[in-house]
Amino acid sequence: MYIFLCEDTLDGIFTGVYDAWASRYGHNNVALTTQVLDNYSLFDEYIPVQTDYEKSAKVARTLKKRMGEEVYGELCHAASAQEEDPPKKHSLNKADAIYKTIVLALSLPDSSKVLQYLGEPYVNRVFSLSRRTGNEAHHLLGFLRFQELENGILFAKISPKHHVLPFLGEHFSDRLPQENFMIYDETHHLAVLHPKGKGFFITDTQDLDSEMLQRFSSKEQEYQKLWCSFFENIAIEARKNPKLQNQNLPKRFQKNIVEFR
């Protein structure tokens, strides 16, 4: 078996897909993984993958063209998922599941139908990983809170399990095109930056000016207060139900939400 070791990022995995495909070892003889292995098997050959944005973009283009936006979106979600740590027994590594799903898709008369083959374990894995990322991203579309800094920039901090930042960047760029905003992912040490009127980009956060992020605009406090009192007033006393509240809005999100602090 030839095992391609890829970086645990969307581009890393797509580069792995490109290399594995181009290697011509035959689909049955290759596997992909994003895991850092501490046990190498003597019978396998390990091939480190050098993440290459051009290769990744080529893969992305092909996938979009052949499978459509929807399946492509699911594959991206799956690639951005954080896997169980330590990995569960028998659980397929996401890179391998993605590769095998792509192989199956391209062998079908209609590649866009690949996610219907839930009986296949690797398709199932892609489906469930994608659902995990998708759910968290969807939650954060609502649970993320911006605060207005002194310089007018809207700033939000999130602590997600999965790498949802690109999806949030896309959503909020469409929603707030005329704002300067920044979304800081403290789990992955990355941030979305969106300058007013332009597209967004993702950057690492080594030289984040943490002092600047503490200086809020003069109005910020006032709106937070208004919002918090709206939040308290909207609940119906006779139906009070903290358990349901915590079930719907899991505790791990609450620390970054102004009305729960």
């Binding site: 095109p177 709106y223 139906r239 139900n241 719907n248």
Partner: protein, 443 residues
């Protein structure tokens, strides 16, 4: 009336959000709209919840009244003209400012604006129209807007507002016109149904216009909804669901909401409800509503004159299946989509997945589990390649007992949050079902 001038914004917001909380619709769903690079805001069809209030309900919109002043005297409402409550009114600019600033900070998906009736229905509706007009054209707000139409307002105002709002609603309030006459004498079925029909017709015409000219302005693109109060008046579930079915079929409503009655003002025309609001009943009505909208059920299959109320202990689909064991078990690898929809434990999404996935290879119970089928419910009603999951009897009493042992028949939040209420029901229904508390509530 003690309307106060120069009240500060915080106090207004407190009064006018507290006064709006009994309207249950807070969804932002039903319309997709891209931001388009200018202005602010977009809309996402499945809707987005921004927070959950202390009662566990999703908060998605800034839900406020324009004013809680009112010239009407609906008995169940805290804002009625006879109530001794503090009154307030926003200005259109105040509402625009709060909406914009909340939206920028991602507190909300948009605005849900409703109102008590100040001066006259037209006067109030005009203020609402002005507010929405400002938001859309001065502030370039493209987020979600839900407007509640004022009963009795001029159709021209309703139409103008409809071209700016995403969703409109007019609350039916009570299931029968008789109850309406008794509790809301200033309203009538016709002041409610007329504008509902008007909006429906305009939506239909607009669809035509849009096929001819796709840039035509859109009228209420997320459709219209309504709300009924449950438990304030003596109507049974059969009457309530029949009304809902009529609204879906004849008025093409997007949603009917059911609101468990909360006695806010101790009015003598109204029941006291010592057990708290009828949350479990409300829950069953919502379940049945889903069966109508997504599962191709008809009310006449679920209830009848002789059985006018839902079984409190079982969800309506399980209850239906138990009374129709002749249809079961169904074979997962062959049954039609329609048939699968009727199996307890199989949701419409799982049913879709099953139909697609079984084309490639026949499915096992393990596969079903992965597709989201709730096997502990479904197992009595299905076979996979001719085999049942366990040996079970296809017998009403036996299955019923087992299903009832499943505590999720009563949702966790009601089980835990509203225990008092359950025991209130228990007493009443105990005899009929011959169940002990431990059977209902044990894990």
């Amino acid at each position: 009336m003690n309307l106060q001038m120069n009240m500060d914004l915080m106090e207004k917001l407190n009064i006018l959000s507290a006064a709006a909380k009994y309207d249950v619709a807070c969804t932002s769903s039903g319309v997709d709209r891209k931001g388009g690079g200018k202005g602010i805001g977009n809309a996402i069809a499945p809707g987005i919840c921004h927070t959950f209030s202390a009662d566990g309900r999703c908060v998605s919109l800034l839900k406020i009244l324009f004013t809680n002043e009112c010239i009407f005297n609906c008995a169940y409402c805290l804002n009625n003209r006879d109530s001794d409550v503090k009154r307030a009114a926003f200005t259109p600019d105040e509402i625009c400012m709060i909406t914009m600033e909340f939206y920028r900070r991602n507190y909300i998906e948009g605005l849900f604006l409703s109102s008590g009736i100040m001066v006259s229905p037209d006067y109030t509706m005009d203020l609402i129209y002005q507010t929405i007009w400002k938001l859309r054209t001065v502030h370039h707000f493209h987020g979600y807007i839900h407007v509640k139409s004022i009963p009795g307002a001029d159709p021209v105002l309703v139409e103008k507002t409809g071209f700016l709002a995403d969703r409109m609603s007019i609350n039916l309030e009570l299931p029968t016109s008789e109850s309406l006459r008794r509790l809301a004498p200033c309203k009538s079925r016709s002041t409610i149904l007329k504008p509902m029909r008007q909006i429906q017709n305009r939506i239909t015409d607009n669809k035509q216009e849009l096929t001819v000219y796709h840039k035509a302005p859109r009228f209420v693109p997320a459709g219209q909804s309504t709300q009924m109060i449950i438990g304030a008046t003596p109507e049974n579930d059969f009457q309530i669901m029949s009304v809902a079915e009529g609204l879906y079929q004849k008025f093409y409503l997007k949603r009917v909401f059911y609101s468990a009655f909360v006695n806010v003002n101790g009015n003598s025309l109204l029941p006291a409800l010592p057990g708290g609001p009828p949350l479990l009943r409300e829950h069953r009505l919502y379940q049945a509503d889903w069966l109508l909208r997504y599962y191709h059920f008809q009310v006449s299959e679920l209830l009848s004159e002789d059985r006018p109320d839902f079984n409190i202990f079982l969800d309506p689909k399980c209850d239906w299946a138990l009374r129709h064991l002749e249809y079961f078990p169904v074979e997962i690898n062959q049954a039609s989509y329609q048939t699968l929809l009727r199996v307890p434990g199989i949701g419409y999404k799982s049913a879709e997945r099953i139909v697609k996935a079984r084309k490639r290879n026949s499915l096992t119970f393990e596969d079903l589990k992965k597709m989201g089928v709730v096997l502990k419910r479904a197992l009595y009603f299905i076979t996979c390649s001719g085999k049942m999951m366990y040996r079970t009897k296809l017998e009403e009493d036996y299955i019923c007992q087992n299903l009832m042992r499943d505590k999720t028949q009563i949702p966790r939040d009601i089980r835990e949050g509203g225990y008092r209420q359950l025991s209130f029901f228990d007493k009443e229904l105990h005899a009929d079902f011959q169940l002990t508390d431990s059977q209902i509530l044990s894990p």
